[in-house]
């Protein structure tokens, strides 16, 4: 680099004094041998710890991936059987689904007491209007 391009060479003397003052006073205390050894040891411990953590994370990830693969391999889609979904064992339920198919007589799906009333009404209706029968 051209010395004239260096901003440090272009600093006026009064600013140079300020920079020198800051450079001299704004530094950490020199590291003692004990602190250096402590720094080295802590860094070494953290590197070992990180390597162990990475190994453990890798192991757990691999186990989780294997479990997921096993789950996918053993999974079978559940088929929904439309005919089995609605049981025809209960006549009443089937009657509610399609009463006309259950019985030729549309009144059969009604409870007995209602059926008596319905029959009576039908009879009355038939008596008053014979053409409908």
């Amino acid at each position: 680099m051209n010395p004239q391009d260096d901003p440090r060479s272009q600093v006026p003397p009064e600013d140079r004094t300020v920079i020198d003052l800051v450079a001299a006073q704004y530094s950490p205390p020199p590291m003692t041998a004990i602190r250096r050894a402590s720094f080295r040891q802590r860094l070494s411990d953290r590197l070992v710890q990180r390597a162990r953590t990475r190994w453990a994370v890798g192991f757990v990830s691999a186990a989780a991936a294997a479990a997921a693969l096993l789950l996918v391999a053993r999974w079978q889609p559940v088929s929904i059987d439309d005919t089995a979904a609605i049981s025809t064992d209960t006549p009443l339920l089937y009657a509610y689904v399609d009463p006309d198919e259950y019985s030729a007589d549309s009144m059969d799906y009604l409870p007995a007491e209602y059926r008596v009333i319905a029959d009576a009404l039908d009879d009355e209706d038939a008596a008053s209007n014979p053409q409908r029968r």
């Binding site: 901003p7 920079i19 800051v22 450079a23 704004y26 950490p28 590291m31 720094f39 860094l43 953290r46």
Partner: protein, 183 residues
């Protein structure tokens, strides 16, 4: 057997890498701690922690180092990144805790005047983070403007501008002390 030979070779490579990294740390430790100290505002213990984090990050990233930047620039970029991360974390902590709980410790410095050091530290703290970074890298650590721009990820013009403003601020705050000491 090939597998045993491979194992031995891998082991030797790892040992060599470990030795290289130890040498790398040994060569840059003091400068890294000093730079972190100056950027963080005068806390030696925190500066050591931040420098350690930077070395750890460098260790992780070393296999991906492509060599398209100088190793020094590359490492200092990591270090400045760690300093910024720490400062963001400190700012967050200040939001949650009172200032007293996050009070930064002043280091005992038997070799100099504690009042003067405190005054200089306060003057440095009054600079913006960008001004402090530019001033420290160029004027205190001796990087060129181009190197500082590469480390900070900024244009050279921006770095010059920050340096100029930093120097102006420090001159206003410390000019009297500097003049008295130069007499």
């Amino acid at each position: 057997m090939a597998s045993v030979a491979d194992d031995i070779r891998t082991d030797l490579q790892l040992q060599s890498q470990t030795r290289d990294f130890e040498a790398f740390v040994e060569a840059r430790r003091d400068a890294a701690v000093r730079l972190a100290y100056r950027l963080l505002g005068g806390d030696a213990a925190t500066a050591e922690d931040v420098a350690q984090n930077a070395f750890l990050r460098a260790h992780r990233a070393l296999p991906r180092f492509r060599g398209d930047a100088a190793l020094s620039t590359w490492f200092h970029r990591i270090l400045v990144g760690e300093v910024r991360r720490h400062q963001r974390w400190q700012a967050l902590r200040r939001l949650w805790y009172s200032d007293a709980e996050v009070a930064e410790t002043a280091d005992p410095t038997p070799q100099s005047d504690p009042v003067l050091r405190r005054r200089i530290a306060e003057a440095m703290q009054r600079l913006t983070a960008a001004q402090r970074e530019a001033f420290v890298l160029v004027h205190l650590e001796g990087f060129t403007i181009e190197q500082a721009a590469a480390i900070l990820g900024k244009a050279t013009g921006t770095v010059k501008s920050h340096m100029h403003r930093a120097l102006e601020s420090l001159r206003n705050q410390l000019g009297d002390v500097a003049a008295a000491r130069s007499e």
